[in-house]
């Protein structure tokens, strides 16, 4: 952290309160629909400083407690107030290896910003926007500097999966002086950051830059390496790795179990997004095909459903429906994403549940039969249970359906690792604080443990596991 001069404005409560929350400039909906460019365009330094001045620099900052990786939020914001943008980014990176990613895709409204003291008095500081600003500034300036790495400890750690949990753990472990090899099954590292989250929400160049930073720190990444197949967890442990961190994330998509789900033109959101994002089907230079249909129904109400639907709009689909069985207030997607989707013309079919996919004689989707729902008593999740309205069936005229109703845990490691305990659903059982699994030397974290969650929760798990792995390898009695 840089020694900072006093910053009168930031501590002037009255002045701070008078500044409204600064909105980040966004591309116009009609314009942005034509391409995959990012929708919010980022703060200018002036906007960032104005917003940063709203921070009250609390002595006991609640925002830090709200952050799964406990970023020193007042400190990085203070740097922005002082105009030390690069210092701000460095400060962020002490706690978070992927600030440009988190600044974009973290649900700040449910975390740091939710508990920000200003939330109680009005509107919180735009912590996510500021995080993004600082990280982007540093990257665009090309002034990235590396922290000092301690002398090699001689311990080797394998990280399985290069999504948010794996990359975070890798970054932490390499900064502790361990040798880290990350194994990725796909041809590109990044996990959900590259195959799932679309370009217009998280530009892939940014993911690449953050991964490059980790490589510069010394993290080795092996792509095309599906652990469980090319090598098992046991083989990694017996071939020179002192510990393994399993962060293989979400796996096979869930389907509803209704008739017609295997018709041509029914996608899982995972497949649709992978074709467009990872395989770049939106770019005519790339070879991977994707169906370009006229009317698409996206089933589900989460962020993945929004991503798939907004992607479909950009692929030239005339009508895109969000079909969700509860009402708007129960939708798990971020409010911003729902709002963006609405601006772009998504049609929301709420309190509606599909009951059958209709097909033609050649096996193609020609409609989606749905039934209207109403909300009954609260269920185990605390949300009101949707119940079908008898006799309200109708047919939605679509020629493609994308199922975005969740995923099951990635199957390869649980299938191939004897002694690794999993839940009935297939999630690896791991200690919440340490990531320690039922198997000696094997730690796990992220979606493979918790089920589908957020990028930052996975990063938090990666960070905690790195601490535990560090202790584990140092205390381990080496056999050889």
């Amino acid at each position: 952290m840089t020694d900072s001069p006093t910053c009168p404005e930031a501590h002037d409560l009255k002045a701070a309160k008078k500044i409204p929350r600064q909105k980040m400039p966004e591309r116009e909906p009609r314009q942005r629909m034509k391409h995959f460019d990012e929708v919010p365009m980022g703060y200018t330094p002036e906007l960032a400083q104005k917003e940063a001045k709203r921070c009250l620099q609390c002595k006991k900052p609640l925002c830090r407690i709200g952050c799964p990786v406990e970023i020193d939020i007042p400190a990085f914001i203070k740097c922005i107030v002082e105009g030390d943008f690069v210092g701000s980014a460095r400060n962020l990176k002490e706690y978070n290896a992927l600030p440009a990613v988190c600044g974009r895709v973290c649900p700040q409204e449910d975390q740091c910003e939710k508990v920000c003291i200003l939330t109680k008095k009005g509107i919180s500081v735009a912590i996510g926007n500021l995080e993004r600003f600082a990280a982007d500034y540093e990257r665009n300036k090309g002034t990235i500097t590396l922290p000092k790495i301690p002398a090699p400890t001689g311990y080797r750690v394998a990280v399985v999966g290069s999504g948010p949990a794996g990359l975070t753990a890798a970054g932490e472990l390499v900064k502790m002086g361990h040798e880290v090899v990350v194994f990725e099954a796909l041809h590109k590292p990044g996990g959900v950051l590259v195959y799932g989250i679309p370009e217009f929400r998280l530009p892939k160049a940014i993911v690449e830059a953050e991964i490059d930073y980790l490589k510069k720190l010394g993290v080795k990444i092996e792509v095309d390496a599906a652990i469980g197949k090319v090598a098992t967890i046991d083989e990694l442990l017996s071939n020179g790795f002192d510990a393994v961190f399993v962060a293989t994330g979400a796996g096979l998509p869930l389907f509803m179990g209704i008739p017609g789900e295997n018709l041509c033109g029914v996608y899982s959101a995972n497949e649709y997004l992978t074709r467009v994002n990872l395989m770049k089907a939106y770019n005519s230079h790339y070879v991977t095909p994707v169906l370009r249909k006229r009317r698409i129904a996206v089933v589900g109400g989460g962020n993945v459903a929004m991503d798939a639907a907004r992607t479909a709009l950009r692929m030239g689909t005339e009508e895109v429906y969000i079909v969700y069985r509860r009402s708007r207030s129960e939708m798990p997607a971020r409010i911003d994403e729902i709002h963006h989707g609405e601006e772009e013309g998504l049609k929301f079919m709420l309190l509606t549940n599909p009951i059958r996919v209709l097909g033609d004689e050649k096996g193609w989707v020609k409609g989606l039969e749905c039934i209207k729902m109403e909300l009954g008593e609260p269920d185990s999740s605390g949300r009101r249970r949707p119940v079908p309205v008898q006799g309200s069936e109708f047919i939605l005229d679509v020629d493609c359906v994308i199922m975005a109703i969740g995923t099951s845990p990635h199957p390869l490691v649980p299938m191939t690792t004897p002694g690794l305990k999993v839940t009935p659903k297939g999630n690896i059982m791991a200690n919440e604080e340490t990531g320690q699994s039922s198997k000696e030397g094997v730690f796990a974290g992220g979606d493979i443990v918790t089920g589908a969650a957020t990028v930052i929760l996975a990063m938090g798990a990666g960070k905690k596991a790195a601490q535990a792995i560090d202790q584990y390898v140092r205390n381990k009695v080496r056999v050889s």
Binding site: A185, L186, H187, Y195, V223, D224, A225, A226, K229, V230, A231, A250, G251, L252, P253, F255, E261, N262, L263, C264, G265, S268, N270, E271, T274, R275, M279, K280, N283, H285, Y286, V287, T288, P289, L291, K362, G363, H410, P411, L412, M415
Partner: protein, 284 residues
């Protein structure tokens, strides 16, 4: 990057390519496949590992140049590189001593089922291999197959070589002759696998087929490879590629395999155009 060490034309539009991939070569077992991407804008395609040499660190793939990616792959010569090869993927074949096994390979399927036939033969089974093609010139690997089975039978659709007719007719003759068959394995075009399964079902002969659904990641993430087996949706990449032939919904599989037929035509035209441009340039 994975180096191409050898390439050989086996028949019209069918090539055998040997790729340096030591880690995969060491681990692969019969029946497994790799995902391959030729170059950066390329798609990921699943290809069965036909053979491997763990000492030399090589895997062998055999493919038919039917679309953009396979045609591009067909242009690679020894010394060229493939950008990505991931594997070995899918469950290996369940190998044990069953007794008498009939292994049926149709067209390219001869090469795809080669490793399965070999493994079952080495496990001590009496393996009767029936290999078939549309005509003699398209029949591949006859000599090699002789070495990894107990009896080899050949059929061609047009009668230009071996039995005149379909491999199912040869199988029917075997069954009619009263030979006890403990297992049938069929690899080849979907209609062939469907026909073999239909034939063996009334006799209660256990039949295994190796399916080739469309895949994208092929590691258990995207769900493109859904096949209906016994009325249940199964994922070909991590639960297959081999399934009980009597339970597979072949009609659905055929339809799903045609999902991108139109786009594939477009890509094919693009490939031909690119190649003819290259040829023009070379001429100049």
């Amino acid at each position: 990057m994975f180096k191409v060490l050898a390439k050989e034309r086996l028949a019209e539009n069918i090539y055998r390519t040997v790729i340096e991939a030591p880690k995969i070569a060491r681990k692969r077992k019969a029946g497994q496949f790799v995902m391959l991407r030729v170059d950066e804008p390329g798609e990921r395609i699943p290809l069965t590992i036909s053979d491997a040499d763990p000492e030399a660190g090589t895997i062998t793939i055999v493919f038919q140049t039917v679309g953009y990616t396979t045609k591009l792959l067909g242009t690679l010569e020894a010394g060229d590189y493939v950008l990505d090869v991931a594997g070995p993927l899918g469950h290996p074949t369940h190998v044990e001593k069953f007794g008498t096994v009939v292994s049926i390979g149709g067209g390219l399927g001869i090469a795809l089922g080669r490793s399965i036939t070999e493994a079952l033969y080495k496990a001590g089974n009496h393996v009767i291999a029936i290999i078939s093609a549309r005509n003699k010139s398209l029949l591949i690997l006859e000599e090699e197959m002789k070495k990894i089975c107990s009896e080899l039978m050949v059929a061609t659709d047009d009668g230009s070589y071996g039995f005149h007719g379909f491999p199912t007719q040869v199988l029917q003759q075997l069954i009619d002759s009263g030979r006890k068959i403990d297992l049938v394995v069929a690899v080849g075009p979907v209609p062939l696998m469907a026909a073999v399964s239909k034939l063996t079902k009334p006799y209660g002969i256990k039949t295994i087929v190796s399916l080739n659904p469309i895949m994208v990641d092929a590691t258990g993430m995207c769900g493109a490879c859904r096949v209906t087996v016994g009325g249940v949706t199964r994922f070909g990449c991590v639960e297959g590629p081999e399934f009980d032939g009597h339970q597979v919904d072949y009609d659905e599989l055929m339809k799903r395999l045609k999902t991108y037929a139109e786009q594939e035509k477009e890509m094919d035209a693009r490939f031909v155009a690119a190649r003819s441009r290259e040829i023009q340039e070379v001429k100049r």
